[in-house]
Symmetry: C2
Subunit: 92 residues, 2 copies
């Protein structure tokens, strides 16, 4: 995706932050507790596996921090935005 | 736990590394693929919730990096070693 494509795609995932180098997006989610946080991760994992596109993510108790990028493309692709939008829906 | 207790407990979890400050232990697991890695995380999450003691962990595709510490105690407790040993068993 070029810079214009990315700018356009960011409109669909406004809670995500675009990295300064334009190669990844990230978002941190906070949930009520670990069960909710890991439940979100489990649901996201199923979507990720289905898309064959996986997050870089970390979890500390009720917090889940996620970075999405397409390693093969060394930057952002539509898969990153699809997964980001799916995660937004799961957390909503 | 004092330094002697920790030294003793480390004998039970030899694949884990003790942090230089003695306040946490960490281990990185590699699995064949994401399904195996997240499967391990799911099983570990159930144990963690049961122990009411949760890992700080991150996942990138088939790699899971884990740090265990007891935030309330600002250091290591027997809970950390229980969870570490349980994770070793799950990954074996």
């Amino acid at each position: 995706m070029n810079a214009d494509d990315i700018k356009q795609a960011m409109n669909g995932v406004r809670a995500w932050n675009l990295a300064a180098d334009g190669r990844s997006i990230s978002r941190t989610f906070k949930f009520p507790d670990f069960i909710a946080a890991f439940g979100f991760m489990t649901r996201s994992a199923l979507i990720a596996e289905k898309l064959d596109h996986h997050p870089d993510w970390s979890n500390v108790y009720r917090t889940v921090a996620i970075t999405l990028t397409t390693h093969d493309a060394k930057g952002l692709t539509e898969l990153d935005f699809s997964l980001a939008a799916a995660m937004d829906r799961l957390a909503a």
